[in-house]
């Protein structure tokens, strides 16, 4: 009997490893992230991406580098196992697919605007004021996890929920984009460097 109680107790603990934040905890997190975001001019980081599809035996792994320059220049560059980069700059999406270059005007495309907003936010974390998302705050051991659910139906068809994990300094550690089917893309950042001088040449294509 005592064993059973212990098991139940640990099960409850396990379930509560991720618990909801109260309002003051959520406000504290917002303030930390906002303060960090305000003083962030550049970010570089490495990332590993895992694409999870339920029917696959293994997640599809790819690796790359990320560069951000305030206010909104972002470059995602995949280096392994293929060479591919996307650059968000001046409302335009520039794609370099292993040397094949193309671009797309995002100005008129609501989906791309939101995607860009999410991507910028996923690096800086500063997304809490956006009116386009329902936001939920959780504690996860030392880290904080924030869930952003798009209110726009068209966008929700694409990404049902967007989870960002912050460390105690308010830096984004991990991003998870969950599709309506529950398949997801998980991106884990490492080797993050903040406010290192970054030439505009990095954002040329």
């Amino acid at each position: 009997m005592r064993k059973l109680v212990y098991i139940l107790f640990f099960m409850v603990l396990a379930v509560h490893a991720q618990s909801k934040m109260n309002t003051s905890e959520a406000n504290a997190l917002k303030a930390t992230v906002k303060a960090l975001s305000d003083e962030t001019r550049t970010i570089t980081a490495d990332f590993v991406q895992y694409k999870h599809l339920d029917f696959l035996s293994n997640d599809i792994k790819s690796e790359g580098k990320l560069a951000f320059k305030s206010p909104s220049m972002v470059k995602w560059e995949y280096v392994k196992p293929f060479s591919y980069s996307v650059l968000f700059k001046n409302e335009t999406l520039f794609i370099n697919d292993n040397g094949n270059k193309s671009n797309m005007d995002m100005g008129s495309n609501k989906i791309f605007k939101q995607l860009n907003q999410l991507i910028t936010a996923s690096i800086k974390g500063d997304l809490f004021d956006a009116s386009e998302f329902e936001v939920f705050y959780f504690k996860n051991d030392e880290n904080s996890e924030v869930h952003f659910n798009p209110k726009d139906k068209q966008f929700a068809e694409f990404i049902q929920s967007f989870h960002i994990t912050f460390n105690d300094k308010g830096e984004v550690q991990e991003v998870k984009m969950i599709e309506p089917s529950a398949d997801y893309t998980q991106i884990i950042f490492s080797n993050r460097a903040t406010n290192k001088p970054l030439s505009d040449a990095v954002f040329m294509q």
Partner: protein, 200 residues
């Protein structure tokens, strides 16, 4: 009048000359073949894709998984991971699990379905067999369409979908190792749609 009839008949016969005849194939004894390129349930087949469609070019990740006998799942995502489409093929059944709204057009889905069926059909029903030079060629029927499977040195290198004696779609398999085609190219002959796949 009779002359006109017979010349029309002649014309029809010539233009309808069968694909094997036009290409000088020699008839051989029927033998069965197996397409093993997507036949291992323990493997995730993941390819980098480049699609040229009607003047547009875009890339993505193309995924095939065999889930059981005559049961495959085929999905296409962007490099960033967003799913574009996700289809199930099971026996005679075909199901769209997901497709982006902009692409949700019956005609497009049918083209993709017909193309991908060829990739996953492991034991196509062979009707006739031929030979030309070093190639063994099997005429197969797949979902009421006629295909020619070209084997060079016992390896499946090419599949051609033929309609009215003409090539409609050509599938090329190259850099073959351990039943995996590192490069696959699907080219439509009557409209501008080409799919190039490179194994990751």
């Amino acid at each position: 009048m009779r002359y006109l009839c017979s010349s029309i008949l002649m014309l029809l016969l010539i233009s309808c000359a069968s694909y094997p005849k036009k290409n000088g194939f020699t008839v051989r004894e029927v033998r069965n073949i197996e397409n093993l390129y997507f036949s291992d349930t323990s493997k995730d087949y993941v390819y980098k894709a480049n699609i040229e469609a009607f003047g547009n070019s875009f890339g993505g990740i193309f995924i095939i998984k065999k889930l059981g006998d005559e049961h495959h799942r085929i999905a296409f995502t962007t490099e960033l991971g967003n799913k574009i489409f996700d289809f199930s093929f099971q026996g005679e059944d075909f199901k769209v699990n997901h497709i982006l709204k902009d692409m949700d057009k019956k005609i497009l889905i049918n083209v993709l379905k017909n193309d991908f069926q060829v990739l996953v059909a492991q034991n196509p029903f062979i009707e006739k067999s031929f030979q030309k030079d070093d190639d063994f060629i099997q005429q197969a029927s797949l979902h009421h369409k006629t295909y020619y499977y070209f084997l060079t040195e016992e390896k499946l290198k090419k599949v051609v979908r033929v309609g009215n004696g003409k090539e409609k779609v050509v599938f090329l398999f190259s850099e073959i190792n351990d039943n995996i085609a590192q490069q696959i190219r699907i080219s439509h002959q009557n409209f501008k749609l080409n799919i190039a796949l490179k194994a990751l």
